[in-house]
């Protein structure tokens, strides 16, 4: 190497030469070359490719089967009583027609017609109307305009409309009402918790405070609960037992061990308050549950739904029909009338749905979709508007029977849905002008209420506490069911559940936790943006979303067919039209409810 370098001190070079700093430049040459990987092999495995495409796909096709359960129970008289509106009066399922034949025959005027008591035929409740050729009612008679000029293409849209929806926001300010045992009512705002009443009692000789809720409290033994009733500033108590001596009360009744709380004077029998579940007693601020009404957004037009009859399935009950002989009809025309049917239906949607970027009511990726069923009632038996052109009423499971609840009274405008109405007019033979109201359809982007739910940040769980219902009431100006006295502002009607769930994904059974202060112990990997940060624990919490096709040991998960680059989701639903008086939800029962008035109506 030619590195013979002499380094001299400056003053050693020549006389008077100064000493200066010397620098030695060392050049660094670095040459790197990556190892060339000439081949990259990949096995294209059908199962792997299928799973890759399945996890990537965000397109869904929803179908379901509805079993329609209905008992036709409310009879009435077509209005006006004399010379009633003929298309309805002549097409009822008559009750005691012999008596009405005698009454009508007593008139000297052969053209005189009275209102015959009867039930609206099953066609008014069926998913697909089949009364396409009823003279005077759906087709013209003697050149006169029929009640409704039947359009076969609209047959599945006359009575009910079907949509697809998903929960997209929460309403914490919804005003609700319960009916108390003494007949009074209690109003509260859903965000404030669950109402309850207090009863001091004993269990095995031990004094307890028994708390009864109108709907599911979602509490277990060992949980804590925050009450609006306190004792010496103490308002968080442990749950001692669940349920009482009656059947089916586990979800509605619990007790607190009475450590002298009743001596405070606030826990007296009949005291009313509100409660909230506390998941972690040491951290009540963050672990207290939130209560809200889930709101749904409509994402399909009603015309996107496609309803067909099932080929081979009927519900367990039979068709109820009868032959109305000519002598026992107002217009002396024989026909067959239908009281109840047994047909089941398949519902599909014309278009597929892309769930990409859709967030649910808790700002998580959407995991549930719903078929939403809303009454239309185009033939005008129901939905006379109360105020703001709205006639369809809404409530929750605890507002249903067995006693007719004042929540449904026409005076209570908070029970109204946001479904608008329209009407058309027809004239009775006596010249009375009748308005037939029907509900307007929802459009894409419209929203409607849903179930009452509870969310807890610590457990990362949403629980449905009380299901959402609609109520149909008859338009008493057209078809009078309350026959005695003045028109009843709180008439009987039929309840139905509008939302039916499609589960497309599930959240994990476990709660993931991070520790931000000690990331080396629990690094944050794939932290979802919906994770909850606890200031108390200094960590994030969330539940993972299981991948498509994965089902854990507890059976949680969905495994839907995947084909044509989309997921096929199918569910079987039972659609029940529940009349007034259902006692299935009755608390304090010691025996199986009378099957004549259970929810099978």
């Amino acid at each position: 190497m030619n590195n013979n370098v002499q380094i001299l001190k400056g003053s050693a070079r020549y006389a008077a030469a100064p000493d200066i700093d010397n620098r030695l430049s060392v050049t660094l040459d670095s040459t790197q070359k990556e190892l060339t990987e000439y081949e990259r092999n990949l096995g294209i495995d059908l199962a792997v490719r299928f799973d890759t495409e399945r996890q990537k796909s965000t397109t869904f096709n929803f179908t379901c089967k509805f079993t329609l359960l209905f008992e036709n129970v409310y009879s009435g008289l077509t209005q006006p009583i004399t010379n009633p509106y003929a298309p309805i009066n002549r097409n009822l399922y008559y009750i005691t027609p012999e008596a009405y034949r005698i009454l009508q025959s007593n008139s000297l005027d052969p053209s005189f017609e009275i209102a015959w008591a009867g039930l609206p035929q099953y066609h008014e409740f069926d998913f697909i109307r089949t009364d396409y050729n009823v003279s005077g009612y759906t087709v013209s008679a003697n050149g006169e305009t029929p009640h409704v000029n039947f359009n076969t293409l609209q047959a599945s849209y006359y009575n009910w409309l079907f949509y697809l929806s998903y929960p997209f926001e929460n309403d914490y300010t919804k005003n609700l009402q319960i009916l108390l045992d003494d007949g009074s009512t209690f109003d509260w705002t859903v965000g404030n918790g669950i109402p309850f009443t207090v009863n001091n009692t004993t269990i095995n000789g031990k004094a307890v405070i028994e708390i009864t809720c109108p709907f599911n409290h979602n509490l277990s033994v060992g949980d804590s609960v925050q009450l609006t009733i306190s004792c010496n500033s103490l308002n968080i108590f442990d749950v001692y037992t669940i349920g009482d001596s009656y059947a089916n009360n586990e979800n509605r009744v619990f007790t607190i061990y009475n450590l002298g709380y009743s001596d405070c004077g606030n826990f007296y029998d009949g005291a009313i308050g509100l409660l909230k579940k506390v998941a972690i007693k040491d951290n009540p601020i963050e672990s207290v549950s939130k209560y809200y009404v889930r709101r749904h957004k409509i994402i399909s037009q009603y015309t996107d739904s496609e309803l067909t009859r099932t080929g081979f399935e009927n519900n367990p009950f039979r068709n109820v029909t009868k032959f109305e002989t000519s002598a026992l009809t107002p217009n002396l025309t024989p026909r067959i009338s239908v009281k109840e049917g047994s047909q089941s239906y398949n519902l599909s949607f014309k278009n597929d749905f892309d769930i990409n970027n859709l967030l649910d009511n808790l700002n998580r990726p959407v995991t549930e979709f719903y078929t939403t069923v809303v009454n239309r009632g185009y033939f005008g038996f129901f939905n006379k508007p109360i105020t703001n052109d709205i006639g369809l009423k809404q409530g929750w499971e605890f507002n249903l029977g067995p006693v007719l609840n004042p929540w449904w009274n026409d005076d209570n405008t908070t029970c109204l849905t946001n479904v608008g109405t329209n009407y058309y007019e027809r004239t009775s033979p006596g010249g009375t002008n009748l308005r037939f109201y029907y509900n307007l359809p929802y459009e894409i982007g419209d929203s409607l209420d849903g179930d009452i739910c509870e969310w807890n940040n610590m457990t990362q769980t949403e629980t449905v506490l009380s299901e959402y219902y609609h109520k149909l009431t008859f338009n008493q100006k057209v078809f009078r069911t309350s026959l005695i006295g003045t028109e009843n502002p709180n008439t009987e009607g039929y309840y139905y559940k509008p939302h039916y769930k499609f589960q497309i994904r599930v959240f994990s059974d476990y709660v993931e936790q991070s520790d931000e202060n000690n990331p080396q112990n629990f690094p944050i990997i794939n932290l979802p943006n919906y994770a909850y940060y606890s200031n108390y624990n200094l960590d994030f919490r969330w539940r993972d979303i299981y991948s498509y096709g994965f089902i854990d040991n507890n059976g949680r998960g969905v495994d839907r067919p995947f084909l044509n680059n989309k997921h096929y989701v199918h569910e079987n639903f039972t659609f029940r039209l529940i009349p007034e008086g259902s006692n299935v939800n009755t608390i304090n029962t010691t025996q199986v409810n009378d099957p004549l008035t259970d929810d099978c109506e």
């Binding site: 002499q6 380094i7 001299l8 990259r40 089949t130 076969t152 047959a155 014309k350 278009n351 989309k566």
Partner: protein
Amino acid sequence: MIVNNFKILKSNLDKNLVIPINLKWDFLDREDSLNLYEESIITEIIGEPENYETAKFSYNYPVRYVFNFKNTGNTDWVNSYVDSGRFSENAVLNKNNAFLKSFFKIDLYDSQNTRRRKNFLTIILNKRNDTTDIELDYNQGIGKLSIPSYSLNPVTNPEGFYLYWFENPDILNLPKLYMTAKFFDGSNGKFTTFTTKKQTNSSSPNRLDSDYFSREVNFNYTNKTYTIQNTGSQTPLLTVNWYEYINPPEL
């Protein structure tokens, strides 16, 4: 820096100065790029998943197919099995085997060119045809005489009303289909072709244009509906008339 106070003394030996330099090359996430490239190659080789599903397409209105046979009594066409001499009145009323085994067949092709076209859909019209009232012999009252006409709608006669076609228009990329009609006669095993207009309307009845033999069927892939219209027309037909093709024409 105090740590750098070192002396290099001259000597006749080569000296090496070792300077430790930490070189770290960042190949992080390069695998992701390779995976993306890999995915694109796989897609290129085996293709993207396609939607081959068929959807139910509905007509926008109740539709009526009316088949007119050549009248035996004059040069016009008539919507009747009896007046056209196809079947006797008794055969139609009593639905004898030859009548029952006869049927109308609607074919949908991709082209009007009879040599190159492919048949994509077929509708066999069922036996729920329209009827006309007829006075029965021996004072038996009014009977229902079947006529070669079919009123299709979703409630009373849905079979044949819907077309089941690809919901993805890119699968075949056919903007429209062409509809033709035939009658298969159970009494003699022969079939009869139908025209969209009476042959007498043509200036060259011996050599009819292709639009005499087919109509257009257009699909609306958004609303999942279809329409039938005459070639070149934009108006959906509510009544689809067909006329028996006579060759050679009787003029």
